[in-house]
Amino acid sequence: MLESVWFILWGVLWAVYFALDGFDLGLGTLVPVLAKSDVDKRIIYNSMGPFWDGNEVWLITAGGVTFAAFPTTYAVMFSGLYSALMIVLFALILRGVSFEFRGKLDSPMWTAIWDGCVVLGSFVPALLLGVAFANIFEGIPIDEAGVFQGNLFTLLNPYGLLGGVLFLCMFTTHGALWLAVKTEGPLHDRAAALARKLWLALAVVAVIFLVATWFATRLYDNYLQNPFVFTIPIVLIPVILVAALFMMRFYMGKGSWWKAWFASGLTIIGATLFGVAGLYPNLLPSSLNPAYSLTIYNSSSSPLTLKIMLGVALTFVPIVIAYQSWVYFMFRDKVTEDHLAYDEAY
């Protein structure tokens, strides 16, 4: 039971991470497409300014919770996905400092270097996080001892890459919507138009991904043969996913950008939970032999640790959500050229 509670929490933490950092990773990727001038770029960076750092901590928390609740999974997953993870980390490092550094020198070359780091540092994690999760869904070649029998290119299989493309579509749509929320004038119009196009791409890729999931993974097994108690939540997730996807388009059509952005976040959460629920009770299936898979039972921490950490999580996560929501509310207005005169602006 305790393991199952932690499984849900684990899935939710990753889902929230993707829904939050997703928009700034997506928007960072879109900078070259959306920005026509240096002012545009700065408006885009400042639209994420007070948020991106706090968003990224959800990744650290999701990682930390994997370590605390399922140490064996943490060990096998992170060492198995070694090269992919290292690339993600370097990308995030470069991206993080770029925001702070780019405006600090009056040199076009300096600015161009950090602008490049923002794009690369946003695109690469968006793609690779999708690749990683798709690989988790289909299982990775781990042997009996939990040793990964493959390399970076094992992960770049067709289904893995499809997962990467799906994440890119989700995140860029999410990012374009965020910019539509936060700006006005031509930049807003470009973001809005792009969001509509990206939504279409997302819908198409999502359908292809769901069909491919049928062939490449065993996720649907859980949906088809789950025990009765899990039926309602598990059936609810795909319903929410599809509903959120269409709500997003509906609000985009009406020009309700905040609502469209929320629906987009809900879509990302639904998509993540859809995959995670299908894994249950596995955390990391082995593609070599199902018996080698890491499950919530064979890789979890002791009941004492799980209990203590549950107390910690149930105390702090709501508090974090409360103050982060307050920050989003506080900085809810649109970012305009006037904001760039602010001393600490990016």
Partner: protein, 440 residues
Amino acid sequence: MDVLMLSRLQFAAATFFHFLFVPLTLGLSVLVAIMETKWVRTGDEEYKRMAKFWGKLFLINFAIGIVTGITLEFQFGTNWSRYSRYVGDVFGSLLAIEASAAFFLESTFIGVWAFGWDRVSPRLHMVSMWLVAIASNLSAVWILTANAWMQHPVGYVIRNGRAELDDFMAVVTQPFAMQQIIHTVAGAYILAGFFVMGVCAYHLLRKQNVEFFTRSFRIAAAFALIFSLVEVVQGHVHGGEVAKIQPTKLAAMESLWDTTDNAPQYLFLIPDEKNERNLVEIGGIPGALSMLAYHSPSATVKGLKDFPKEDRPPVLPTFIAFRVMVGLGLLFPLLALIGWIKRNRLMENAGYLKAMLFAMPLPYIALQAGWIVAEVGRQPWVVYGMMRTSDAVSPISGSQVMGSFIALVGVYTLLGIAAFYLLARYARKGPQPSSSEATA
């Protein structure tokens, strides 16, 4: 090179680099919060200028400290997966608590502070900086508690083929963790104090913004003086704790080969690790080592030869790092004290100001040396007495680690240069002209 050596080098490089920036974050956040509090309390705009100027340097430094922290957390899984599997039940929770209780607070409110000057009331803005300061220091508390557990594992049982948590309170309240926390945080405050004093000295020597930098200097000097005194006293107690729980580390710190009663402390000494002796020993003070370690001149101090060769840490780096740390640690209160005494006559003491300018790198060196003592001195164990470093490494290919190590050194070097350049540039630029100057 093998996976073990590469992984160790990579972890060392990542920690070294992370810890170039973190101490300044820990200390400067408190200093900026103090300055801003003075502004809110007195309404004196000069303090607001101070918070803004030092805050700008803080932000540059903070960005790099934050992003390099992510690599460290993930490396336990990528490079030390056997370790993570074996001790994750105890160790993983501490990292997860750090993220959820401290890191979120720090990363969220730094955004409020940086972007909120015109958005929130001065009081709330000041509170944001205090939250950043408290959260970064809390973060250090949790990380050091985790590290203290590696130095001195408590509150666990070996069960199901791994170390499982048995007594959570024993882990989070163990005295050795408290020692490490005070020792490291005080060190960070010294570094921040010397950083601020050094930048002030630069401007005072050029007679720029004299009033502004004299006032900044005074705050930093008091801060550095208090914590460098704390450090000397606490460092002594800390050494005693190490003697009790990590005898091999103490013996390596002192390069003591034979178990000795009334053990002397040598002023000058050259270890000869190969032949298990010291090449040169000059200026022995009888009983001084026994006194330092056990507070009694006649106490017996265990020598390295009493331990099997495979249980001894590398002597030379531990020994040198310890001497460097202690030597500098004794210099800091002296320099800070002079500064505090001369705080109202700084302009007449160009020699001292020059010394303080050149003293800026010293706390950085002392803090890195401290980590070498703590971590190299703990070898060959990853968890002292419980798990060897060689049993902790991931079953991965050496080429992968070689690739990531080269990338890490390359990326970090470039980032380090960029950060240093920006810090130096903005430190030299000085504060924004005050509103009265601007209108005049």
